[in-house]
């Protein structure tokens, strides 16, 4: 499996950064090669251009931005979803990683 780039976005990129740490641990445990990082909503655009993102996940508090990102991501074929609410609340890295993998269709 090729290396995957997973981008998390929330209002300030702070709360998702904790989730990133947990997801990285989960990925390591599975021997999965992944570049997982979190950014704030305002930095998201730049990162879409800069990096070869495979999937993008939104924190529930910025779910209202989903459609806005969708229009940007759809032409590139990058899947996008809002992080499952309870997984987010519990900072469940395993499950959010599962969600990301599922979105990438692998």
């Amino acid at each position: 499996m090729a290396k995957k780039t997973i981008m998390l976005v929330c209002s300030a990129g702070m709360s998702t950064s904790l989730l990133v740490t947990k997801m990285q641990k989960a990925a390591e445990a599975r021997n999965m090669e992944a570049d997982i990082f979190a950014v704030s909503a305002s930095e998201a655009d730049a990162n879409i251009e800069k990096k070869d993102v495979n999937v993008m996940l939104l924190g529930p508090q910025v779910r209202f931005m989903k459609s806005q990102f969708e229009t940007k991501l759809a032409p590139k074929g990058i899947p996008l979803a809002v992080i499952n609410m309870s997984d987010y609340g519990m900072m469940n890295g395993e499950k959010v990683l599962d969600q990301a993998i599922e979105l990438m269709g692998e």
């Binding site: 929330c10 702070m14 904790l18 209202f64």
Partner: protein
């Protein structure tokens, strides 16, 4: 009732020779002048020829004769749209079910409302006849189980037959549907509506081929019947019961999974059918056709058909009044939800677009194309047109100016259209829930009530009543005692409605042969008082704050200070000089309340300096009916808080609780807010058991009852109900109220009985009562990541409280998961601020602040508490981000 002109044409077609106008008039029982007028019209339309002479003889034109010989397409699988595509597998299954030796397989057809289950069953029957499995004259019996769903005994008798004397009124033996369908097919629609007893008997019949009519004690009867059931229900419990017994399950696809080509064919076919029915060319604007191709029709094919019919009716009216050459379906006549289809015009594939894109802007449909005749398609089809026709005729025979004709008809016809539209828009769920008989009666009752009371009742009120009626009849039949706790007051207060209610119960008694208890009339009366414009509708009044203290001017100077601090004039002070007796003081207060009764529907909060004065609270409520709460040992801080909250419109209970809490918190630094409070949903109706029970059944499946209670409650009178809610609020966090009477209280989301049976509203309800991530879970997830505060748990608890309060003050509610998202966001924000990190920027901050001043202010106020608690300064930018999060994530439960 058949369109007269059509009738004449039909008659002429059936005759070998022509007829004169008088012969025609005699045969059709018409006035002769009318008959000749119609014939003349037909002549002008080139549909009949005149053979001059005495009398003039009319004959149909040869062309017309051909048109009349149109071959009606056979009902059969081959004529189903999508037979080679979406329906291919279903049809293969169906054929297999019919051909399976020796006598076919019992079958169940699943499919959403309007996907064509009945038509499909009919096709199965025709296939069975064609393939010689059934004889030419084998019966096809169709029955909708919802018709008798309310009365299991009647339903049972209807299906299996009744033996003479089985019950009073069974004066002779009566064959059931099973006997009727012997040697053929019995189609049971909405089979999930069968009672468990009915299902049991049906299974016995499936297993053994024998049955026993109601009231027959010995012997079994036999019948050979292939059963086809249809249902919209696909819940697992239902599936399990039926799957074991019914081997063939066929699923019909919803409209959304049909191909666009199929949809094109459907729309085209339905328009052709209308053209044939009217014997008239129909022109369709291209936009109209596209809209019908693309709009979201939740009622599937059936809805497309209904919507098209409505548009055709409108076009017909226009056509008749303007004497146009062609009936035109215009985009502007489309219902809004159909027009919305045009928003998706890009989804229309080029190839279909091109096929419509011939020279003109219209598509035309001519009469005489094949028409699929379908038993379920009743005579009603022609009724709309006939009604319009009659109107046009009646009016044009008078001396009417031609120009005014349409407006006149429009006004005369409005009621008719409104009913028609209402019927169309009637949600199927609402329809299916209640038997046709109850609907009918409800409509009759309400029509009478409207006439007698000169008041109109909307469909929501009717629906609530129909639900109630259904339950009430059951309860009366089962001899349940019905008690109205406040009958006398209702009778006095609503004497007019009460009179009408007596009449209505008479009608119910007659229709259902039951005896309505006197107390029930009280409930019916209450239903009739619904929907009235409330006298005190002007937005709920603010809570009245009364400060009651000993001393010549203690109360007034305290209030003055607070009012000055807050820049408001909310609140009233009562000074109680030491010379004044308590009774005197009370009289003074009562006098004040009585004078200002009108402004006090928001309730009264008494702030006193001694506990003894608190007894005033209950006494005031007893005497005036104004909800009153009292708090003793007030301080400046308490008055400040109470007055502040009252001036922003917070409710009595809310203020009471908050003030008490903040008071407690002064004494006891660490209390546990909201965290441990139980959650609840209230379902309510007049009886507390009739409709409320149905509502309970509706919401129960979407609620995790280990975490949330559903409280069934009686609603007799608004103030008492509110008081009851107040009491519950001390113990519960009430997430929603579902009920028959609209209660807007405490900003608790309200769902009417009508709403909750709508899938879209239920979905919103689900989100509101949705599961939340608990504080413990959140704290655990943050373990070891936030170091700058002493207790993560305390941080989360205060954040939860803040987020909760902000929503209350903004009068909004965000979805269950979003608030935990916001809480986590705040937790990290505070952590990073405490570590001295820089905040973020916000685009167009000034503009955003200006636009959301109110919201920003409220949020800022709540952040102040956090700022002082955690010694941080939250920037305007961050506050704006937060405001945006709340604003953008709110649930729109009113819309």
């Amino acid at each position: 009732m058949i369109n007269r002109k059509m009738e004449i044409l039909q008659l002429l077609k059936s005759k070998e020779r022509g007829m004169s106008a008088s012969q025609m008039a005699a045969e059709l029982n018409l006035d002769r002048t009318n008959a000749s007028r119609y014939l003349n019209e037909l002549y002008k339309e080139n549909r009949v020829v005149r053979i001059e002479g005495r009398p003039v003889i009319y004959e149909v034109t040869p062309l017309e004769l051909d048109a009349g010989k149109e071959h009606l397409a056979e009902v059969g699988f081959d004529n189903l749209i999508g037979a080679e595509e979406s329906l291919k597998i279903s049809i293969q299954q169906a054929k297999a079910a019919i051909l399976y030796p020796p006598r076919g397989l019992h079958t169940i057809i699943f499919g959403e409302t309007g996907t064509g289950k009945s038509l499909f069953a009919e096709c199965m029957y025709h296939f069975a006849v064609e393939s010689g499995i059934l004889s030419q004259n084998a019966p096809f019996v169709s029955f909708n189980c919802a018709d008798y769903a309310q009365n299991p005994q009647l339903l049972f008798g209807h299906i299996f037959g009744v033996k003479k004397g089985a019950y009073t009124g069974a004066i002779e033996d009566q064959d059931g549907l099973v006997a009727e369908a012997d040697g053929g097919i019995l189609f049971l629609d909405e089979i999930h509506r069968l009672s468990p007893e009915g299902q049991e008997m049906l299974f016995t019949f499936i297993d053994k081929g024998t049955y026993r009519p109601l009231g027959e004690s010995v012997g079994q009867r036999e019948a050979t019947v292939q059963l086809i059931g249809a249902t919209t229900e696909n819940s697992s419990s239902f599936l399990q019961t039926f799957n074991r017994r019914i081997p063939m399950v066929i699923t019909l696809p919803p409209l959304s999974s049909r191909t666009l080509d199929e949809r094109y064919e459907m729309v085209a076919r339905f328009i052709s059918q209308e053209a044939t029915r009217l014997n008239q060319r129909i022109c369709v604007e291209k936009e109209t056709f596209s809209a019908f191709m693309l709009y979201t029709a939740e009622g599937n094919i059936g809805q497309i058909k209904r919507d098209l019919k409505l548009v055709c009716a409108k076009a017909f009216l226009h056509y008749r009044t303007h004497n146009e050459t062609c009936l035109t379906l215009r985009q502007k006549d489309l219902p809004l939800h159909v027009q919305k289809g045009l928003l998706r015009i890009k989804e229309l594939p080029e190839r279909i677009n091109r096929s419509m894109d011939n020279k003109s802007n219209y598509l035309t449909f001519d009469p005489g194309t094949n028409e699929l005749v379908w038993v379920q398609d009743s005579m009603q089809d022609m009724e709309v047109y006939n009604a319009i026709e009659e109107k046009v005729e009646a009016l044009s025979s008078g001396e009417l100016d031609h120009l005014d004709l349409e407006t006149l008809i429009a006004s005369k016809d409005e009621d008719y259209f409104q009913d028609y539209v209402a019927e169309l828009s009637q949600n199927n769920v609402h329809r299916e829930l209640i038997s046709e008989r109850i609907w009918q009666l409800t409509d009759n009752l309400y029509n009478l009530a409207e006439e007698k009371l000169q008041r109109s009742f909307n469909k929501k009120a009717r629906f609530a009543f129909a639900l109630h009626l259904q339950g009430m009849i059951e309860r009366v039949r089962e001899n349940h005692l019905i008690v109205h706790p406040d009958l006398n007051n209702v009778r006095k207060k609503y004497s007019k409605e009460f009179q009408v209610a007596i009449d209505l119960s008479g009608m119910i008694e007659e229709e259902f042969a039951i005896e309505i208890p006197f107390d029930e009339i009280g409930f019916i009366t209450m239903f009739l008082t619904l929907n009235q414009k409330e006298v005190s509708k002007r937005a709920e009044n603010k809570v009245t704050i009364v400060i009651l203290m000993h001393g010549k001017s203690t109360a007034s100077s305290l209030l003055e200070a607070v009012q000055e601090l807050l820049g408001t004039n909310t609140g009233v002070a009562f000074n109680m000089p030491l010379t004044m007796e308590v009774q005197q003081m009370y009289d003074k207060l009562r006098q004040y309340v009585k004078v200002h009764l009108d402004e006090m529907s928001g309730g009264l909060l008494l702030l006193t300096d001694m506990g003894s004065l608190n007894s005033f609270g209950d006494m005031i409520f007893e005497e005036t009916g104004i909800r009153t709460k009292a708090i003793a040992m007030v301080s400046t801080m308490v008055v400040l808080e109470a007055v502040r909250m009252a001036s922003v419109g917070r409710s009595l209970e809310d203020i009471y609780q908050n003030v008490q809490l903040s008071f407690e918190s002064v004494i006891k630094e660490q209390y546990r807010p909201a965290a441990s409070i139980k959650k609840a949903v209230i379902v309510t109706c007049f009886t507390g058991e009739g409709v409320a029970k149905k509502l309970y059944e509706r919401v129960a499946p979407v609620i995790d009852q280990s975490k949330m209670r559903i409280i069934q409650m009686q609603f007799l009178e608004k103030e008492a109900f509110k008081k009851h809610i107040d009491e519950l609020l001390e113990e519960y966090d009430i997430k929603a109220i579902v009920g028959t009477v609209d209660v807007s209280y405490q900003n608790i989301p309200f769902f009417s009985a009508f709403d909750i049976f709508e899938e879209s509203k239920l979905a919103i309800f689900k989100r509101i009562v949705g599961e939340e991530v608990s504080v413990e879970q959140m704290v655990r997830s943050l373990e070891g990541t936030i170091h700058s505060v002493d207790s993560v748990s305390r941080l989360i608890i205060s954040l939860q409280k803040t987020v909760h309060e902000i929503q209350k003050d903004l009068h909004i509610m965000v979805e269950a998961g979003v608030d935990s998202g916001i809480i986590l966001h705040l937790a990290f924000l505070i952590d990073s601020l405490r570590q001295g990190k820089e905040g973020r920027s916000f685009r167009n901050l000034a503009q955003f602040k200006q636009k959301n001043r109110m919201e920003m202010d409220i949020i800022r106020t709540h952040l102040m508490g956090l700022e002082s608690l955690y010694q941080v300064k939250i920037s305007d930018e961050e506050a704006a981000h937060l405001t945006q999060m709340f604003q953008e994530n709110k649930i729109n439960w009113n819309g």
